[in-house]
Symmetry: C2
Subunit: 434 residues, 2 copies
């Protein structure tokens, strides 16, 4: 099999589409067998992978930040857990063939809505090469072909990983062309134009990059550009849990998209709560920026309008005092990114009001926004988090990689018999499908 | 309330968004009361509506086709059934607040996935003014604001309908600004740019128009440009039902998107089947276009490559002989529009193969493609039919106008406790939610 850089993108996309069509016809056990074959092949050729990665690392070392370098590095333990992840994906419940509606339209005319693969995924990720392993596994499990494009720093690692995966697939029922690798940056734009071949684009990277993808393709995009999450400390909040939740939501992993960027505080408890939270956050090294009202109570930098729209992804938190829960909800719906927003309160009416009226994928009561995650939700895997309004919304597991079709099985029925003055009525009887 | 042409679009969109936000908080009974108030107001002012429509009709009479004129005309009986439709929508099951997942992540940390409105719909329809009544009802039922744009021929009718609906809403809990009307063609392009305000665009019109909308907006679009549907007569088909189903699928309503455009015939039965179907279709006035193999058996016009991609929407049918079921499936997946495709066969393995491998929203066995319709599927209403791969796919009912959010209710839980070496495990226990 020639490496992808000698093939044109259209050939790659056609191969992926044809292979995906074949993959969609395979049984769950054939797909799982392929996954386990991949896991074994990766284990067998571990040293080769680590060596290719060392080459990437030494080439990149002087040109990238230490954070990026840490993500690029694929040592044996990271690799081992990525391989374990492949076997875990094989154990997940099959997302295909599940029935979500079964209805008799008339006698011997039965409608079923059945889950099926989307087709071909286009996944663009940054430096972390083990992402390739995870994505390829999720694609095969869900019956989809996948065209991968990794960060340029990870080129050698991604090339050897793809080669191992394709070779492992040769021994299985899954066509090796199901998993394809792009190697040049120019191919990204070309991939985004392939709406006839690619059914879903999953960009993993900086907010700017995700926004670029969203603005440059007609293909549906699974992902979010911003994670501007809020916590609102209601007038009826208990202070101790409020402080604990705030500290966790901001500092447990500040670079995560589900960490909070703005803390809203009800004016009735501001003078009590602010000194306590300021102390707790400053102990964790968080820099505070407050509106005028906040700065009358605690000493901190001034927050301006722009701060309400900023995802710091860092140990910085904007603070704002609001005069009502309505004011808090309005602020979140105006400045938030519809990701995840929480309220801390002992008043259940206020909690329900917040949960109903805040227009975000995740709305939380008395817990940290950091729970917004596919694994924590029990999805077994996370494909991405979507902040768009249409489903799939929020953390998306394997079910975000499938769609459904309607199967209608009849015995010669025609529409004319159900039309006009002597129209036969439909029975529309829902049937059990478990 | 000033008519919309004196307001700028941004004001209209802002009003719709704010009103939709309020509508989303109302109970099912408040929404249904509003629907019934609309039905009563329309009944009361029937004569005014008919008069406005007569004005539209007489202005348009000499400039439009008789088919378009028939769609534009809103006489008393059409109006009465549209009003009955409003009361029917009120009776539909509430699409809001339904729970599709309930899971304990840990003790007293419970996740729920709950359906909620999308926000604001932008609906662009052609001459049929009663569409406005139906769409406004579906929007209110599903908790969404709606910005409507009707065909220019229906301007007077749409204006008086909107005025009546808004006035009726004044007496209810639903804000009248929930339903907005645009009146100029220029506003369509501007509406498509309002991705900050509008959450879903539903275009109803010609294929060209739907394609224009799809290519000129970042807002998700519910609709389909083409309906190139197929029927495949397998080698194991019984001829009589095959003829009956073909005639229905082509002629029962040839302008419908779910009517077939191409008939594929297995070569093994072609010499038997073709003369029979040719006679039956010609009796119904259908013009046939066949490939070379077909023309060796029956006398008809020649079909060229372009015919396989053409939606005739008329009494014309393309015929092609295929040498296997695989060939039929490949033809459909290549030339079809992923709408609805059927197989006629007595061989169940072939039927299942076809249903699994044809990549369309609807895949049918032994029945007419004309069943692809929200009402026939028992959805109570049809918002549109989608041929995209991502859900909602196929005929879309009210549930296509809603999305969901995740509600997480805790008692002070933080992510730090579930991370690191002493991480608490999640229980991930699915709970009953019926």
């Amino acid at each position: 099999m020639p490496p992808s850089d000698s093939m044109d993108l259209l050939t790659i996309a056609t191969q992926a589409k044809t292979s995906a069509h074949h993959l969609a016809t395979l049984s769950e056990s054939a797909r799982n067998t392929a996954l386990n074959a991949i896991a074994s092949a990766l284990t067998e050729r571990k040293e080769e992978i680590v060596k290719a990665n060392e080459k990437d690392c030494s080439l990149a070392e002087n040109n990238i930040s230490s954070a990026l370098y840490a993500r690029l590095k694929l040592g044996e333990s990271k690799l081992q857990s990525a391989i374990a992840g492949v076997r875990d994906v094989a154990k997940l419940r099959d997302p295909l063939g599940s029935i979500s509606l079964k209805r008799e339209l008339d006698q011997n005319l039965v409608l079923e809505r059945v889950s099926c693969p989307l087709g071909v995924l286009g996944v663009i990720f940054e430096a972390r090469p083990e992402a390739l392993i995870q994505i390829a596994s999720l694609a095969i499990k869900s019956g989809n072909g996948v065209i991968l494009k990794g960060g340029k720093e990870a080129l050698h690692t991604c090339t050897v990983l793809t080669e191992i995966i394709q070779k492992a697939l040769q021994e299985t029922e899954v066509n090796p062309y199901t998993v394809q690798l792009l190697t040049t940056r120019e191919e990204i734009k070309a991939l985004l134009d392939l709406d006839e071949y690619v059914d879903l684009i999953i960009p993993r990277g900086s907010n700017e990059f995700v926004r670029y993808v969203q603005e440059n393709t007609k293909i549906p995009v699974l992902g979010h550009a911003d994670g501007i999450c809020h916590l609102f400390i209601d007038e009826f909040a208990d202070l101790q849990p409020a402080v604990k939740i705030t500290v966790d939501a901001k500092t447990q992993y500040p670079a995560a998209c589900n960490a909070i960027e703005t803390l809203l505080i009800h004016e009735k408890i501001a003078s009590q709560f602010l000194p306590a939270i300021a102390q707790a956050l400053e102990e964790k090294g968080v820099k505070l920026k407050g509106d005028e009202a906040t700065r009358k109570i605690i000493d901190c930098e001034k927050a301006v309008e722009d701060d309400w729209r900023t995802e710091y992804s860092d140990l910085i938190l904007a603070l704002k005092i609001v005069d009502s829960i309505e004011d808090a909800i309005a602020h979140i719906n105006k400045y938030g990114s519809k990701h995840t927003d929480g309220i801390v309160t002992t008043n259940l009416d206020n909690a329900e009001k917040f949960l109903n009226e805040v227009d975000s994928a995740g709305v939380y009561h008395n817990c940290s926004t950091r729970f917004a995650d596919g694994f924590r939700y029990g999805f077994g895997a996370e494909v991405g988090i979507s902040t768009q309004k249409m489903p799939p919304r929020g953390p998306v597991g394997l079910e975000g990689l499938v769609t459904y079709k309607y199967k209608l099985r009849g015995q010669g029925q025609i529409a004319a018999d159900y039309s006009g003055i002597n129209a036969k009525p439909f029975t529309h009887k829902d049937l059990d499908f478990n």
